[in-house]
């Protein structure tokens, strides 16, 4: 049975920055409030679409793997904010990369979307049906930011990350995983509109934004990410002490800290970059993984644990044994088209649709 080794990694973070101080202008909030409750200082606002960010992140991951788009036989995009209902975002990414030999589909597991996609891709390789898979996590969450809702407007941002999985006989890759769901509590984190259950004649802006019961999500996220991490480690027969790096979903630094405390993990073994990007849902883990490699926080052969929790309520956890190579084989010049609009200009449609503090 073939194992799926991560051989390439890449990210695409749009240029436009939305800082806490910028948010103070349009939301009843403060830098101090946001920082102490979430750990977030700024996030990125995309002028391009999810498929554009995905293709750029994918091109970087392919270059790092020393592969071209023609080598791909599958593309999986974890996203809940795709460009269109149909085609899938993966279809648009296939065309942008010109990966004509690749099948392609999206996975919607919200913040757990990258882990779901990674597990699916790894298992397709293990099944022997595919050899080279591009797995992407990408979101343009700012589309749903309701600036009259200070509990959620400050949390989210845009971005994309990607990895290349290749079939190998080496004892590396996904060692154990868990994909979970508690649909009974779905209503505590949702965007009700944008499906057939909505009334298109009387669209309610509040239902188009992110609705969340923060404390309840917080409690469940900490418990579930911690417990699922312990279970996948047990499945893999690996002790907590052997973790090289925990890369948790970046939703709130206090969720990450509380999860690490429950696992009694040394903070040095926990990857955190939420201060720069906020919660980018399915993109947080591949982006954090890429930045962990860029900052040399992953050793050859290291044990990496991924854990995520999000809308659904979905969760995922995975234990990975890294390969010997922690440096990219090549680089790509891929980038988003130039942006000539200010952050506030990019947010103007939100302010018009949802309203904001100054007009209410």
């Amino acid at each position: 049975m073939a194992n799926a080794m991560i051989t390439g990694w890449g990210k695409c973070m749009p240029e436009a920055v939305l800082s806490n101080h910028d948010l103070e202008q349009i939301v009843d909030t403060s830098d101090e409030w946001i920082t102490t409750r979430t750990g977030i200082k700024e996030r990125r606002i995309s002028h391009a679409e999810v498929s554009d960010m995905s293709a750029v992140a994918g091109a970087h991951a392919l270059a790092a793997a020393g592969k071209t788009a023609a080598d791909l036989d599958l593309i999986i995009v974890g996203t809940c904010t795709g460009d269109s209902l149909i085609p899938s975002t993966a279809s648009l990414v296939q065309a942008k990369l010109e990966a004509w030999q690749a099948g392609a589909f999206d996975v919607n597991a919200a913040c757990s979307g990258f882990i779901y996609s990674l597990v699916i891709g790894s298992n397709m390789i293990a099944a022997g049906t595919h050899r080279t898979v591009l797995v992407i996590g990408a979101e343009k969450l700012h589309y749903h930011l309701d600036f009259t809702n200070r509990a959620t407007a400050v949390l989210f941002g845009d971005g994309a990350g990607a990895v290349v999985l290749e079939a190998t006989d080496e004892d590396v890759g996904l060692l154990a995983s868990e994909l979970g769901m508690d649909g009974s509590a779905a209503s505590i984190l949702c965007i009700p509109e944008h499906g057939t259950s909505g009334d298109r004649r009387n669209p309610d802006p509040r239902e188009s934004g992110i609705n969340m019961d923060g404390p309840e999500v917080f409690r469940r996220a900490v418990t579930t990410m911690g417990d699922a991490s312990v279970r996948v480690l047990e499945k893999a027969g690996i002790s907590l002490d052997d973790i090289g790096l925990l890369i948790p979903h970046q939703a709130n630094v206090r969720i990450i800290d509380a999860t690490a405390r429950r696992l009694k993990l040394d903070p040095a073994k926990v990857m955190i970059n939420i201060e720069s990007y906020g919660n980018t849902s399915a993109a947080t883990i591949p982006v954090a993984l890429t930045e962990a490699l860029e900052s040399h926080r992953i050793e050859p052969g290291a044990i990496i644990v991924l854990a995520a929790f999000g809308a659904g309520l979905s969760w995922g956890a995975a234990v990975i044994r890294w390969g010997q190579r922690v440096e990219p084989l090549g680089t790509s010049a891929a980038a988003l088209p130039p942006n000539n609009r200010s952050t506030m200009d990019l947010l103007a449609p939100n302010l018009e649709f949802f309203g904001h503090l100054a007009s209410s």
């Binding site: 409750r37 923060g214 404390p215 917080f218 409690r219 900490v222 709130n252 509380a258 405390r261 429950r262």
Partner: protein, 81 residues
């Protein structure tokens, strides 16, 4: 477990896990107004209490905890019932 033991252990949890100011912690201290615990902090507090004392605190019981003393009483009641 005696209330004094619970108080000692709870005080330790509040300082080390929640980063609260040890000098401000006393049974009469209100978590929200005296100790600056925000809404997520309340969740962290409940989870830390559950872990430390091995008890379950459902939401309807959690709503009645406003002061350090009330938290001690609840744990004491659960451990001795």
């Amino acid at each position: 477990m005696e209330k004094t033991d619970i108080e000692t252990r709870l005080r330790d949890v509040l300082v080390t896990e929640l980063g609260l100011d040890a000098e401000k912690i006393n049974p009469a201290a209100n978590f929200e107004t005296d100790l600056d615990v925000d809404s997520l902090g309340v969740v962290e507090l409940l989870m830390a209490m559950e872990d430390e004392f091995g008890v379950k605190i459902p939401d309807d019981e959690a709503e009645h905890i406003h002061t350090v003393g009330e938290a001690i009483d609840l744990v004491h009641q659960k451990l001795n019932s």
